[in-house]
Amino acid sequence: MKTTVQEILDQYQDSGRDSLIPILQNVQEKLGFLSEESVIEVSKFLKMPASKIFGVATFYNQFRFNQPGKYHVQVCRGTACHVLGSATVLEEVEKHLKVKAGQTTKDKLFSLEVVACIGACGLAPVISINGEFHAKVSTDTIKGIFDDYKNREE
């Protein structure tokens, strides 16, 4: 049985290190994130130290290194949201979920990502959870929003 990553690598048989980014994009598309194991496989394939691939991948915002949660939370840090206090929102969300941006909660329910403007500036500060926008978020409303999602699970 070939792993998903091996199947992807098969398509890159004759290519070298310059295919690194396309390969990683492909892997993320299939797995939803770049797992440690997948990066190690890519590193063996390209004969490139795994630490270097990790370093390169962290340079790009598009790559995630944690399995996405059931609900993917995006906190907007665009200009409009920033002006209306998105920094405090992010801080509060991190505190509430007990994870930092880029991480996934232990129960795998929520993953947290910081994004630039998501085109809903009128609703600033805004967070999106699996594509659903939550407008004019404040430290007071955050708990309620997440409780709502948690309740759906019960």
């Binding site: 440690e36 990066v39 190690i40 590193s43 130290p49 795994a50 630490s51 270097k52 990790f54 370093g55 962290t58 340079f59 790009y60 915002n61 290194f65």
Partner: protein, 573 residues
Amino acid sequence: MNLTIEVNNNILTANQGDTILDALNQNGLSVPTLCHMKGLLPTGACRMCVVEVEGRKNLVTACSEPVLDGMKIKTHSGRVIESRKTIVELLLSNHPDDCLYCERNGSCELQDLAEDLHIRERRISGQKNKYKLDVSSASIVRDPAKCILCGRCVRVCEEIEGVSAIDFVGRGSKTFIDTFFNHGLNLSTCVNCGQCIMVCPTGALKEKDHICEIKDMLSDPEKTVVVQYAPSISVSLAEEFGLASGKNMVGVLNAALRRMGFNFVFDTSFSADLTIMEEASELVHRVTTGGTLPMITSCCPGWVKYAEEFQHDMIDNLSTCKSPQQMMGAIIKSYFAETESISPENIYSVSVMPCTAKKFEQQREEMSHNGISDVDAVLTTRELARMIRLYGIDIAKLEPELADSPLGTRSSAGKIFGTSGGVMEAAIRSAHYFITGKEMVKFQVKGVRGLEGRKEAKIKIGDLDVGVAVVSGLKNAEILMEEIRNGRKDIHFIEVMACPGGCINGGGQLIGTDDEAVKARMLSLYDIDEKDAIKVSHKNPYIVELYDKFLGKPLGHKSHHLLHTHYQKRFVN
């Protein structure tokens, strides 16, 4: 000298093909640098070395720009100074203001730059860096908050050591240096060589401290505290005390260690002789019985871990001999404990090493007997210097003393272990005797001497033509291993050291160790060899006695138990 340039209104000459920086240096001029590393390709990343070139709109980086005929250069114009100053001010703006508590207080390039550029007020203030310390490694502590992202550690780790344990992670103002998936050095491919510490301009990288524990042990009346020092230590301390590089300070070193309270002072060069007895015998055994060849030395723990990670298929080629540090440790807690009637639990065994990887080696599980570790703590040369100051010892006032008997007497073969090629030369001297029954006519093996990263020689031992290779810097080892794998059969014995030039340039040596210092240390070791009466390990009378009274014969039962080890494949990233 075929170009004419004008620097700060002076006419100077320069070589075609050099960089502006080379040209300036050759003329005795200097500009500050940060990312630049001698011998490696320039990246032009930090812009600390900028100069003004007439006709060029932007300032140019001297370290990466080729010098051209007729160039008119200003190295310290107002614009240049202002630009450098801003770079340093930006570096300071997020830097923790921690100098008083910092390892590198007094030997920090960032402090020097701030001072040289006369930065005496805070014009830019930024958010201070906050990162977790990485204390996962047995050898090295990383403090990313103090990192100024010069990239030198990343480059030395990749280009000199072929390890790539660390890299830039993240982007923009969030960039820092880290390991694969932020797992910490302990779980990375890091081989603990410490070369990253040697190139780090700040206190972002340092060794794991063993001073505190040793201090406690020295004041514990129950403990017999013994110390051994590596062959290179006595020739690597001079700069610390304002003396000329390479000066052999072995006598005062013995005295200083006793002043600190060590009960017995031993010389690791003695156990280097012991290593040679075992290793040369092993080589002879392999050659005569068709064992795995080429045999590769195993005294450098940086190399050993590297081999376990990256060269699994060569593990059988590694000599099974423990390193001199560990042989001494094992002998101290067996033979010495027995003869002095001290129980091994009550012996606290310290070693002084030029090396951070020795801290890792000391705690490997193979390096203990019945749950008692053979060596208890390892000091780097830097830590030794710190301890000498801590105990208020004035080196200039000490009279030289001898090390303790019997584990303090060496041949000069054991002493040259400290330089690249030394182990090889010492082993050849004894192997020659073991095979032919005769001493070599001339002991010097010129072909394996010198600081080049790779040396090869053919040596005639009786009827045998023995091919030997000596490499230092693990990148060079990687290349050689690949050649062996691809079918090279003309090499029978290989010496590998992780640090370029060997332990005289080890990752535990004094900060500021440069090419000249390394060369002076090497020459000093060979000078000691030149002047010594006993130049071969097998003629060290105390080694002979140790075999007679205790060990039996090389590769014998007791040796096997105490002096040899095995290796494991490691899977890390």
